[in-house]
Structures are given as structure tokens and as C-alpha cells.
Symmetry: D2
């Protein structure tokens, strides 16, 4: 569970509360009564009862009118409920931004897009680091002045070493979320496991079609009429992790592989930025090999 | 509030509970505790807190594991809460189907589509009546054998009289919902008022563009690149009622008005059937001039 | 090449001319000059130069103002050009409708949809036959009165025999196009070969994802966020034939396999009817394992 | 008609040829024969015969295998044909990039997006100037080092003067196309007329819905379920010019005006960049109050 900030300096404080547990009657009654009794007010509430797996998922945004919220008591109350129902849960001050590491290779359209959205406030986060296996000059047209950039080149021989450096950086920078923003290296099973549930990749195809390398060329060869991109959590199995978001665009017989790559950049940008925004806002919960996404 | 059936003959009984009231802390706690204490279990729950209007909306589907639900007590409990919070609410056995009147003119694509979806179980409802201002032979290729068909022709002179017959039929057939499935007559303010909140029209444009007559010809003249259709509640102001659903398709400079009409039929069918399905499932709540749609 | 009707009885006659050959300079000049010199006028013209395969594709719709067209001479002229450039070509009076055999199994949403579109003139064709491996009573709500219906049941043991009957029917009825409108039997390689290039199947997934059986259940298990359907030519390799059209709809974590099946019906209907309409209008040309689709 | 460069230094030279005239038999024959006889080869060809207005439109991309093209003679031949058929036409070496002026106000998402696409080669053009009514510091995170930036502030009193400066700049910089990339000033009728047919605006609504100011707030109030953006040519009538491209995204009852603005940025970026790319590639022809767009 994430640490709670006191938020004393701000006038309107909102908390994002997420939970998952085995489904049983009484969960919502217990939770909403606890929030109410400690002075909280539910602003948003979304829930999902997976009748297949028997698991329950919820995301609640709560604030406290007239500053009546007794946070330590609310926290203790929710902890007691969590114990009773066997919940996995988080409670986070919405203003306490998650720290995000962006990993990138040569193609920088997702990096440029995420940084742009971050600067104008569309992605409320702190950039813990930008990590690339290409030197800083590669991104000379992107303003990296206020962003910690790390050049971590990698070869087959130095992969273990480089991944150790990445992992050290994750720890040193208190990174919460790692985004593979067209980072074209496959993570080792070991690093994938360490980042389990908090590493988002953008794959440039409509999974499960066209896994692996050069998906737009694969799509062109197969003669599909629509292409897509997929944001998913990274797992040990390549391009098999839980899918967070997908989107598509129509193509035609005149579309060359280069046209697909061009249209794909647009799809990748919007799919990855949506997935990241939802992740930052506590809207994505993992449900086995799938996700629950409480969209806005 | 709708009457509750006992549902005693069925093994799995679900209730759809909808409510709206001024937003205040404690609503969800009160409601969910009441449901829990009377043996109910929340299967689905969606809510919306409109911070602009200050109103709260919710839809809850509940069932009762092990038949422990004490329905009269639940009903009394919810009534008490409704009184306390000033709620408008409904509680309905999901198996108690709404009764729908379909009104149609010459173009029957929406009628044929809705009847097909009804027959295969996609639209759980009872057909109270099919009403047309064209004779039954108009629909000779549609199977109307088990559907009560009423031919109610209308002219400028007989409009008041015809609408009286329509209204009488609504009452006699216990119609819950009226669907204007390309019924090309404008309802009078009086009839629109009588059907307030339960009469759905399909307008063949992407509103608010192209209100009134011949919208596809209007769209063609304006040279838009995308056309649409809109399902909305009927109000006295033409094509101004709260919008339930819209959808669109891309067109191009080669599209003639006839092409737009053809593509439009597809959009109209899916928009109207979605809106109707949501209406039947208690997913649409009116919020002033807008709607809250708890989509599936 | 298809036979040309004289079309003498109609006032406005249009011809659809399609061609494909190895690309060389001068094709368009030769063809358009030939058409012009014999009194024809080009109403629509679309072409595609596949720089990968080096092949050229075109579709031209021509009419003849003031009845000046000398059809036998035009035909001879185009034949001479075809010989010079090594073309595969067709010239067809647009009013001479193609004859279509619809094959269907238990699920009849595509059948009902195609018949509806045919009746209102959206699919200009002749229905050569409706063939099902289920008895006529299965479709009791569909008006089959003016449609030749054939019940051809099939078991593993009788498959060869049943396919022979299908093939005999194709020949007897002068069927031009066979549509597998959710016909849930896999055609033998032999029958697939006989129907090469004129048998269209609707597969209920966004190919190449989820080939084979129960694709919506596969999609649900994988946790995709968008589902689709694919119309393609039937070839010996299952679900591998050239794709004509695809479309998609968004789903979410709340969508059950049954929801996917429901949404899928809508996608299948529109994808298959589009593919068929284009086929009827000479808009689909096969390019190896892919298609050229001159969309309207 | 645009000047033709000799293109002698490049190995593969392509020309974009566009034409429009009253439709008559023989146009395609004349043009394609002329191209063929002077050693040209047609790579792409799209045409549209507007049966309503009686006008014909075409776009042809031609190259010349083995450098056999005799450009001056081709030019003379096409000019003769143009005279015969009363054509408006252009012939342009594809490598001779159009010069584009980008005008912007405070919101820079379209500017940043266009510059990004230009840098990676997605928009083949020369940036003649970036003009803003806000100072250069406004765009401190955008790399403007190699882009001529002009700060031209404007008030009600100085509008005529400022527009004179804009027009002078258009002339001095040999600007071919002006893009209003969220430039929030309404051009005077005079300037709009001077830029007729070569000034593209992005309007942040799905026209004709929500013209004028604050369209996302208008859309929110009306309760639409889908929002859009529109790229169109600027004319004297506000938001009434010929539409080049539109696109949409789905919203819901939870979407605030700020959410619409956020989603709208994404739609605006892709709609404007598509319209500009087609303009640069000679794919947009004006047809009265509408456009012919030969999409790729």
C-alpha cells in the first residue's frame, strides 16, 4: 500500500482508493459506511464483480467537505475492513504524483508526445528519469532541460549489466511506473518480474495479431484492412501481458508498410498516453491475465 | 415507482434499482447497508455525481444469494432512505419485461431490426403494439404474426384524433416505452408531454447538426466527411430532447445523398437498438436536458 | 470473362469493366482511348499500381451518352488491348445481376440482414439459392417465400456427398458468388478450390487474431479491448484467405462472452454486407493473398 | 499554375498533376495519351465525376522510367488539352516542397504536433514562418531554433495593421499555404479573400454543430455523446468554408468541459495534420462549397 501524504497545505484534497478481494455480500456497505463515518464523501465510485473469477474490484475517489475527514481513523477503518475481507488495497492522495521512468530507443514519437502532455498538465506525474539506449543527441529537438536523462547503451554482451543499471535507477529514483515508450529491447524475465504490474509497454500491433518484430510489415503482408496498437503490462512472455488499451485505424490496399508505420505512430501515441493516464489515476487493476479499466 | 413482481417462480432473481437525488454524503452508505441488511447482494453498481448540477445518480443491480432477500422489508427500507434524501427511485424485477410500442412510417429498417433483435432475445421486452400510419401490407416481408399491429393513418386534419387514438392505445396496452422507429410524424406538444421521459426517437443526423427534414441531403450539401444518427428523448422542441446515444460513419466526396441514406440506415439501426436496450435495462437517467447513460 | 447483355431495353446502361495485368506504361492511355473512340464515357475510374508485385489493377464504370456506344466494337477493342498487355479482364452490364447462393447454419443474423438489404435494393443481385444444413423451420421468422431454399444436412460421414450436392446446385443455378453467411461447416479443399475467388466467408474475429472455433471466447480470455469481424475469400487454408473487409467495436472488462457474441453480430452483419456489395459491384480484385478494394 | 522545376539532379522524379473542368467524354483519353506519348508513366490516378455539378476532377502522379520524359513537351501538351477542355490545372514536381506559414495563439498543441511531424519527414514542406499573436517565450518548450518566428500581436485597434503585416509576410516568404493551427483570431474578409483556397483552419467542433466560440462548452451543454474537430478552408463566412477532414471521439456523461478540451486536442491534431498532408500532396480540390479529397 502506498504512503499517504497529509495534504494539509491544500484546500481540496482527494484520495484515490482501490481495492480487490474475493466477492462477498457486504463489501460496498462496509466500505461506504466507513468512509461516511470518518467524514469522507464519495465523488466517484466504480466497481466490477467478475462472476467468472469470483473477484471484486473497486475504485473510489473521495474527498471531505468542510475538512471533516479524520484520515488516520479512516485509514485504520479501511485496514480493518481489508483484513476482514482479505483485500488488496491502496489509498493515495491524488495530489501525490506518481514517479514515472520513460524508456525509449530511436523512435521518439511516444516520448515527445508523453513529455508534451506532461508539460501541459494532461499527465499529472513526476518524470523520475528518461532512459535510452541511444545518446542524448538523438533527441535534440525535444526539450530535455528539466528532465533527468540517462544514456544506458546495451549490447547482447552487456544486457545483464545494463538491466542492473536500469533496476538501480528505478530504486534510486523511487520510480513507481516504468513506461516502455517504443523501447526496442526485450526485458529479461528477471527485470520483467521485478517490474511486475507497473511496467507498461506499447506494442505496435493489434494484439494478439502480429506479435514480435516488424508488426506493420506483417500486417501489410497479411492484407488486413485495419491496423492497431496495444498498451499492455510487461510480463515474461513476450507481448502476452494483460492488455490495458487498444485502438485502431483503417488502412487500404494502397497503404505501404511505411504508411502503416506512419498511421501507427498516431495510434501508438494515443493508446500509450491513455494507458498511462489511467495508470496514474488508479484506474487500472490487474485481473489475472486481463485488466479491469475504470475508464473516464 | 414501478410495481414489484414477486418473481417467486424463478430461481435467480435480479432487481434493477435506480435513484437520483441531490448529492449529499452518506447516500451510498445508506443504500448499500440497507441492501446488505435485507439479504441482498450488489452485482453491478454505477453512480455519477454531477458536480455542476449537484445531483447524484445511481443504478444498482442486486440479487440475493440463498434466497435470503426479504423484499417487502428491502422495499420499505429503500422507501425510508428515499424519503430522507428526497430521492426519485425505481426498483424493478429484471424479469418483469417492459412493454414497448413501436411507431413506424414507410421506412421499416429500424422496425425490422428491432423485431429481429427481440426475437433472438437481444431486446428483452414485450411488444405492446406496432403502430404505423401506413397499412399493414407495407411490411409484408416482416413477420408480424405474433405482434399486435395497428394502422392509424394521419392527415393534417385528423392529427389530433389520431394522436388521441395513439394515447388511448398506450394506456390500454400498458405501454412503458414508445419508440419512434423512423415514425415520420412530429408529435404534438401535448402527446410529447404525456410521453415525457419514455418516448425515444431516432433522428437521422448527428445532432445538433441538420435538424428537421432531409438531414442526409443537408449533410451532403454541407460537404461533411462524417455522418451520424442520434437517439434522443422526445420533447416539445423538435430534435432538442436529451440525447441517449449517437454514432457515426465516414463518407467521402463520392457519396451521393442516396449513399448517405444507405449508410445512415446502418447507423440508425445500431444507435436506436442500443438506446432501447439501455432503456429496457434501466441504464438511462435523465439529467435536465442531458442524460446519464450507465453503459454496459 | 462474363457474357455481355445487350441491355437494349433500358434507357441508361452502365458497364463495369475490371482489369489486371503486369504494369507497363500506356495501359490507361490505350484503354481510355478505346472507350472514347467507341462512344463510351468514363463515369468512375479507380486504379492501383502495386509497386511491390508490379501488377496493375483498374475498375472503370462507363456509360454512353446519346446511345452512341458500339458495344461489339468496344468489346473487340478491349480484347485486343487485353491481348497486347496480357490482361485478365471482365466487362459486365451493371444491370445484369450476379446470382448469389447464401449458405447458413443455425445463426441467421447475417442471412436475415442480407435478405433485408436485398429486398430494399441495397444489394442488387439475384438469390440463386439459400442453402442450410438446418431445416427450413429454423428460419420461420424470415420470409423465404420467394427464395429457393435447400436443406442439405451434413454429418462427418455425408460431407463429401453433401458438398457434391452443393456443387451441383452451384452449377444448376448458375451461381456467381457463394456467401458463407455464418455457415459453420469448413469447406473441403476440393470445394474451396472449385469456388476459388467467388466464395466469401464471414469470420467472427479480427483476423489474424483468434482463428478457428469460438473466437469470441478466445477474445474474452485474452482480454482484448476491441473485437472485430473479417470477410475474406475462402481458400483451402482455414481463415487465411484474402481479406476483403474488417470492422471492429470497443468492448470492456464488463463484457461477457455473450456480450461479445451480441456485439459481434452487429459487426459481422455490416462487414459481410459491405464485402458482398463490393463484390456485386466489381470492386474487389484479388492480388495474390491480398485484395484490392475500390471502395465507394 | 505552379512553376515546374527541372528536377535534373534527382534520380526518381515524380510529378503531381491535378485538373478540374466541365465533364466531357475524352478527358482521360486525351490526358493519359499525352502523358504516355511524352514518356511519362502514371503511378497513381484518382478521378471524380460530380454528376450534380457536372464537373470533373482528377489527380495523377506520374514518373518517367528510364528518364524518357520530355517535360517541356509534356507541359505544352497538357496546356493544349487544358485549353481544349477549359481546365484549371497544376503540374508540380513532388520534390519541390510547398512553403507553409503556421499561425498560432496560446494553445500550441497543433503547432508542436505539426513541427514534430515535419521534423521526422511526415509533412514534406518548408516552414515559411511561424506567426503568433503571443511572444516567442510562450513556446519555450518547442524547438524553434531553425524556424523563422514572428511575433505579431493584435488588438481590436491594430487588427488591420497586423493583418497587413501578415499579408506582407505571406508575400515575402513565398508562402503557398497558411495553416491556422489554433490561431484564435478571426481573419477579416479581406485577408480571407486574399488567402482563398490556401488557408486551412482547424475548428474545434464537428461542424456544422457548435460554430463560433467555446464549442466544447456548447457540446457539453447539449449533452452530445461524440465530439469532433473539423479542418476547413477559411472563407469570409465564419466556420462555413469547404470541409477537408473531420474526426470524432466518444465522450460520456462523466466528461467535463475540460475532458472534452483534452480529448479535443487529440482530435484536432490528427485532423489538421491529415488535412495539411493532403494539401501538400495535391490531394484536395475545391468543388464549390465542398471539397474533393483523394485520400491515400
Amino acid at each position: 500500500m502506498r504512503r499517504i501524504s497529509d495534504g494539509a497545505r491544500r484546500s481540496v484534497i482527494q484520495y484515490i482508493y482501490t481495492l480487490t478481494c474475493e466477492n462477498r455480500p457486504g463489501i460496498v456497505a462496509a466500505v461506504s459506511t466507513c468512509i461516511f463515518e470518518h467524514g469522507g464523501n464519495v465523488r466517484e465510485s466504480q466497481q466490477f464483480d467478475d462472476t467468472e473469477s469470483g473477484r471484486f474490484f473497486a475504485r473510489i475517489v473521495l474527498d471531505h467537505p468542510k475538512n471533516r475527514l479524520d484520515l488516520p481513523k479512516l485509514h485504520a477503518g479501511l485496514a480493518a475492513i481489508a483484513g476482514r475481507f482479505g483485500m488488496t488495497w491502496t489509498l493515495r492522495d491524488r495530489a501525490q504524483l506518481l514517479r514515472v521512468m520513460l524508456m525509449v530507443s530511436k523512435f521518439d514519437h511516444c516520448l515527445a508526445d508523453i513529455l508534451y502532455r506532461w508539460r501541459i498538465g494532461e499527465l499529472p506525474m513526476e518524470i523520475a528519469a528518461v532512459v535510452s539506449n541511444h545518446p542524448r543527441e538523438t533527441y535534440q529537438h525535444i526539450d530535455l532541460r528539466d528532465v533527468p536523462f540517462h544514456y544506458l547503451p546495451v549490447t547482447k554482451e552487456t544486457k545483464a549489466e545494463q538491466e542492473a543499471a536500469v533496476w538501480a535507477l528505478v530504486q534510486q529514483t523511487n520510480t513507481d511506473v516504468v513506461v516502455l515508450a517504443r523501447y526496442m529491447q526485450v526485458l529479461s524475465d528477471d527485470l520483467a518480474a521485478k517490474l511486475d504490474g507497473r511496467c507498461i509497454n506499447i506494442h505496435h500491433s493489434f494484439l494478439p495479431g502480429f506479435k514480435g518484430a516488424k508488426p506493420y510489415h506483417q500486417a501489410h503482408r497479411r492484407g488486413v484492412k485495419i491496423i492497431g496498437a496495444t498498451a499492455h503490462y510487461v510480463t515474461a512472455a513476450l507481448d502476452e501481458g494483460p492488455i490495458i488499451e487498444q485502438d485502431v485505424e483503417r488502412i487500404s490496399h494502397v497503404s505501404s508498410p511505411d504508411d502503416l508505420i506512419r498511421q501507427g505512430r498516431d495510434i501508438e501515441r494515443r493508446v500509450l498516453s491513455r494507458a498511462l493516464r489511467w495508470q496514474l489515476d488508479g484506474r487500472v487493476l490487474i485481473n489475472g491475465t486481463r485488466t479491469v479499466v475504470f475508464r473516464d
